[in-house]
Symmetry: C2
Subunit: 438 residues, 2 copies
């Protein structure tokens, strides 16, 4: 017996050879690996005041409410949907409809809170809005010529979904008043001139993460005109619209949409809680061969996660029922915290940095984020120094620009902090900025 | 103002133009569109005896157990993991670790039930095993040269995951004793000779769906040798090993694996219930740049679904705790039903079709499926006639061969039926086959 044959006679002697160079390109994408580094830095300073975490306020989380919501949903299945106990158990525990089991409650919520009229058959419940983004991109990206436009700075979850589906993203700069519709039209024209097929525009019109911009109503209407003229879908992602400063709300793009341009993505991660992982997409657009884009997305979902957890859907369903399907009502306490914290951050910045000085900031009318401009490069090295020497964490903005800007900007997230934390954190930030300012 | 400009002044007049020809190719894949047709046919005959549904037995589903399990898991977080109430609430409701919150309980289950030693850090909890398959394929498929081998007939969920990730699947025929390891080696050689990179083999060694084969232990050991020799990963998908006929169980591939060839995919959909959507993947293989394949899969998951629902994980965690982490214990009643039904189907076939006649069938030693060979083409038209005229539903096998066979085979799924249903269904099947036999 030769040594080689002898080796082969012993199972499991040859370890597999794996390297990231041989794995999917998204795994070595600079934007995404730097996010991992970022998480490591923030994780290494647990005692710092953190303006880095993009998590919702958690003091109102309630374990007993989970049980109450599950029972409410079960009773609703029996009374409103006329199910017997066996059908209820099947709905909770068996494989189910790909589109989910809370579409009709989501439809009530959309009408009540967002002025959106939708059909339950056009709602696909997803494992968070992250899956919804992946499904939309997977559907639209047939080959390398299919590209999407996205407001820049761009939510990193959308960038990730694009990398995963190998979809090229063309950035359209977003200003303090959000996207300029004319710039969207120009970007679509340029893409077509380059032989590409711009399929959709991704935008968070209400308090984008990280930019914080909110589009005025006139710009929303103009954006829909541009979408018509350039045959673009508009993917409206709306996790934050309820967290406004009390000054009123412009209508969602979807509620203004008359031709079916808007694919609407919603999430309960911020208005209810992230642990359910319940999001959804509304895509009632007709497809030539019959059915809707939602039907096509549901087919893709059956290959991706099959169903969204019905246990988790039932929990969110019960929460909707308890609040008469108004998420504005469900998250009123959290919204008040965010409003208070936004005020504390903006007032706190004004009290610490002179107007017209080297440090500037935006003035979002809501949301969970503010952006500060600093007179130095705000990268991981700066963050590490800020954390180690000054005990304050934040997020470098350049992550959200995919290499096209933001190098002297930082994002302040204030959703999980107290007013005392914010004051202390801003004091530390001032000290850090002073030490770095030339 | 020109008419065109007038049109553009009114938002929402131009409906978007969408057709499946412009959407992702998986959406017009023949294998997957025929599965949709199949679901439509079976859905149209609710009163037929259905051997078509691949769902687990549902009479033991228990709504109150869900509440009990959630409380058990909460108590475990407090007592065994030493969390205070606030940390418990955060664990249930906040964004969490990408790898999930029940990895340590899954590790106990794997050791107890499957003889598998794993580290909790190597377990990635997923939204059902469907997401696990997508993640593994997305990681391994860097470009069009990366292909996977799969036992044929192939589970349709794997075929879907492959279409979604644009991964080419090379079939390796599976016989009554499962895969022939030598055929796997030959397929890998042929792929390499054709300039392809065979990355992995997908196999369900215990009662594959639909073939029902179970690999003997010697073949399992040989398969690991072949994997070593050909530098293949082996993706072992194990939803059914516990549903054996009582004659004992060969070891899992993963428990025999000494070199880290096996990526193990598990699911609670059949041993607990599908509505949780909890599956997992164990991929402790080292990656050259550091960390494990599980770490890389977790990065991909953060772009796909971010987290697995922690509410759903808590429900399954509590179920594990209630059963001392033995899923064999948790699903003992269901396993008894499946054993009884397998016997009823095999005995029932023997009682109705003469040995050596034109109708044959396999003799699986467990699982939820049997395969019957018939002397005619068993396609959708045949199914429609079977449903309409004879009141019995089944699944055409050719779906699982991607066009390479199975045209005169049907799959009988017996997991949700009573013995009375089975007897009646087989009577109807006999009448249908008699009418069709030349």
């Amino acid at each position: 017996m030769t040594p080689a044959a002898g080796l082969l006679d012993t199972p499991g002697r040859a370890a597999p050879s794996l390297s990231t160079a041989g794995l999917h390109a998204s795994l070595s994408d600079p934007a995404l690996t730097s996010m991992t580094l970022l998480n490591e830095i923030t994780g290494a300073y647990p005692d710092a005041v953190s303006f880095a975490a993009g998590r919702p306020y958690e003091e109102y989380f309630d374990s007993e409410a989970l049980h109450r919501h599950l029972r409410l949903f079960t009773r609703y299945l029996e009374t409103e949907r006329g199910m017997d106990r066996r059908q209820v158990r099947r709905t909770l525990f068996q494989y189910g409809a790909t589109k989910g089991i809370v579409g009709d409650l989501i439809v009530r919520h959309l009408l009540l809170d967002e002025g959106i009229t939708a059909d339950a058959a056009d709602v696909l419940v997803t494992t968070g809005c992250q899956e919804a983004m992946v499904l939309v991109l997977r559907a639209l990206r047939r080959d390398a010529r299919d590209v999407v436009l996205a407001a820049a700075p761009t939510y990193v979850g959308f960038t990730g979904a694009a990398r995963l589906t190998e979809t090229r993203v063309l950035p359209v700069p977003e200003g303090p008043a959000g996207l300029d519709p004319a710039a969207v039209g120009r970007a679509a024209d340029e893409a077509r001139a380059a032989g590409l097929r711009p399929r959709a525009l991704y935008v968070v019109p209400d308090f984008s993460n990280p930019g914080g911009a909110r589009m005025p109503e006139a710009a929303r209407r103009e954006l829909l005109r541009v979408a018509d003229a350039h045959d673009l879908l508009v993917v409206e992602d709306n996790p934050y619209s309820m967290f406004h400063d009390g000054s009123g709300r412009p209508p969602t793009l979807k509620s203004l949409d008359r031709s079916g341009r808007v694919v609407y993505i919603g999430s309960f991660a911020k208005t209810a809680y992230p642990g359910a992982r319940i999001g959804y997409v509304v895509a009632g657009q007709q497809v030539a061969e019959g059915g809707t884009l939602t039907d096509q997305l549901a087919k893709l979902k059956s290959m991706l996660t099959l169903n969204t957890s019905s246990v988790a859907q039932a929990a969110i369903g019960g929460l909707l029922l308890e609040n008469g399907c108004s998420m504005e009502r469900a998250c009123a306490r959290e919204a008040a915290v965010y409003r208070r914290n936004l005020r504390a951050v903006l007032d706190g910045l004004a009290a610490r940095f002179p107007r017209g000085g080297p440090v500037g900031w935006n003035a979002p009318e809501g949301g969970l984020f503010a952006v500060v401009t600093v007179p130095f490069t705000a990268d991981e090295a700066a963050l590490e120094e800020s954390a180690e020497r000054f005990g304050v964490l934040w997020t470098p903005m350049y992550h959200f620009y995919a290499g096209s800007g933001g190098l002297n900007q930082i994002r302040l997230s204030f959703s999980v902090l107290t007013e005392t934390d914010i004051a202390e954190g801003l004091d530390r930030l001032r000290a850090f900025v002073a030490a770095r300012t030339p």
